[in-house]
Amino acid sequence: MDLGPHAAFIWASYGAVAFVLVVLLVWLIWDGRRQLRLLHELEQRGVRRRSGR
């Protein structure tokens, strides 16, 4: 695939988009798993919300 004389700028743009979106995605998945683990630990200790009684 020949992207012409400005290929480096094109690849850098797509690389930046891929990098930022992957970081965002990994952070969201990690954060979701962390919150679920914390919630599970609290429930294991028998803690219940007031509305849940």
């Binding site: 695939m1 797509y14 609290l42 429930e43």
Partner: protein, 267 residues
């Protein structure tokens, strides 16, 4: 605690009230999110195929037009993210919608990421096309201000421990900052800018050849669905974070009650 009125117990909930319930949101989003993510991935992959194997080089920009296929959707979504924050802020301040602050908080880092990408890809397009990475023209500067607004919203929220106060203050800033959106949109008409005027969303239809417009639209749709999926995931995380916080508070209360009971028994 005052007992609920008979009306509140018997009146059927409206659709908005039912969707406002965080538990119902978690159930619904848990079903939708995998499908939304798969749809976004499929459309983005198709968009990349069109970008690198189908779309012709532009008669002026050459292959550099490929940067536009990600720059334009990033810029649109940077603005859409802020519009989402403004609508959510309005929903919080006026209707006290239980999920409005969750939505505003989740949209901020995602909108900031897309605005940053619009700035980076714009610079990388500008160097070969304009001969410079950056100029202080109205469009570029107003998008940079939008990025700083996102950072300001996140900094303000994280600087306040009281979550209800943080929600209100960021909602006020979010609503006040919405003035940046028409400034960005019309900056190319109001001032002499190096940035070209609107060429897709304009009176009289797009000024782009269909062979370039089609991949651009496909990428824009794919990235928009990705934005919605990321936002939904962010909202789910925030609902879970608030549940964790509520349980920790309940744990502290239980421990305090236990101490009081043992003190009373020993006394």
């Amino acid at each position: 605690m005052k007992p609920m009125s008979t009306d509140a117990q018997t009146t059927p909930q409206s659709l908005t009230q039912r969707l406002a319930n965080p538990t119902r949101f978690m159930e619904l989003s848990g079903v939708i999110l995998p499908w939304l993510s798969a749809l976004a991935a499929g459309i983005i992959l198709y968009g990349l195929y069109l970008t690198f194997f189908v779309a012709p080089p532009d008669y002026q920009q050459g292959e550099t037009v490929k940067i536009m296929f990600i720059h334009v959707p990033s810029a649109w979504l940077g603005m859409m993210g802020y519009a989402m924050i403004a609508i959510s802020s309005f929903g919080l301040l006026v209707f006290r919608h239980p999920l409005a602050d969750v939505s505003a908080k989740a949209a901020a880092p995602i909108g900031a990421a897309f605005t940053l990408l619009a700035l980076i890809t714009g610079s990388l397009w500008g160097k070969p096309m304009w001969g410079t990475y950056w100029v202080w023209d109205a469009r570029l500067t107003s998008v940079l201000i939008l990025f700083f607004l996102y950072l300001g919203l996140m900094a303000l929220r994280s600087s306040l421990d009281d979550e209800a106060l943080a929600a209100k203050q960021t909602a006020v800033l979010g609503l006040a900052g919405v003035v940046i959106l028409p400034i960005i949109k019309f900056s190319v008409d109001w001032w002499n800018t190096l940035h070209q005027p609107a060429s897709v969303v304009k009176m009289g239809g797009p000024a782009i050849h269909p062979s370039i417009l089609y991949p651009l639209i496909i990428n824009a749709v794919g990235f928009s669905i990705l934005f919605l999926a990321l936002h939904m995931k962010g909202m789910r995380n925030e609902v879970l974070r608030r549940r964790v916080k509520a349980l920790r508070m309940a744990e502290v209360e239980q421990a305090a009650r236990g101490r009081e009971a043992s003190t009373a028994a020993s006394g």
